[in-house]
Amino acid sequence: AQSVTQPDIHITVSEGASLELRCNYSYGATPYLFWYVQSPGQGLQLLLKYFSGDTLVQGIKGFEAEFKRSQSSFNLRKPSVHWSDAAEYFCAVAVMDSSYKLIFGSGTRLLVRP
């Protein structure tokens, strides 16, 4: 069965420090992978996506993610975190059949220390 695991429930980093949020997936075919960010009381904003091609994907707000098929991972990174990056981050995999399901991880809450 398809699944997405985000092993870190909370992560705290200092402003200006680098960030890596982990995501592992289980999916039989080539995955369509996404990272979304959600600020409190808001909807989900797409940060970046991977469908095929270059395994290092650039997104908005200075984020990038690397698809590693051998590790079934799609980790999100940012070289220097800003206080405004504090939010909930969701990794997701799209099931490309008629169900149109988007399987979400449980989310990682990022806290940023001044």
């Binding site: 996404f34 979304y36 009381g41 909807g43 996506k49 469908f51 490309m96 008629s98 399901k101 989310g107």
Partner: protein, 110 residues
């Protein structure tokens, strides 16, 4: 800008009083979704429309219904809201697999 719009952003209703949440899109996407999101949880898919074809998730309560009168609009009807239905309701659209989400409607049930 093309976008997904949800109204209202906040909705207060009484226990058992029907409520309708609305979603509109200017993206002209053929698929529209409704998700329920409770605090500190990932969104949970309630149903989706592929054009006019309605697809209900197996565990979506009968209390939840949806209408899609045209490509641009989709409605979520909660016939008899219970306290457990208090949540954020997210509308999303897609055409090529990427979901684009609206800002959500926060539902409070008194």
């Amino acid at each position: 800008d093309a976008m997904v719009i949800q109204n209202p952003r906040y909705q207060v209703t009484q226990f058992g009083k029907p409520v309708t949440l609305s979603c509109s899109q200017t993206l002209n996407h053929n698929v529209m979704y409704w998700y329920q999101q409770k605090s500190s949880q990932a969104p949970k898919l309630l149903f989706h429309y592929y054009d006019k074809d309605f697809n209900n998730e197996a565990d979506t309560p009968d209390n939840f219904q949806s209408r899609r009168p045209n490509t641009s609009f989709c409605f979520l009807d909660i016939r008899s809201p219970g306290l457990g239905d208090a949540a954020m309701y997210l509308c999303a659209t897609s055409s090529t697999g990427t979901r684009y989400f609206g800002p959500g409607t926060r539902l409070l049930v008194l």
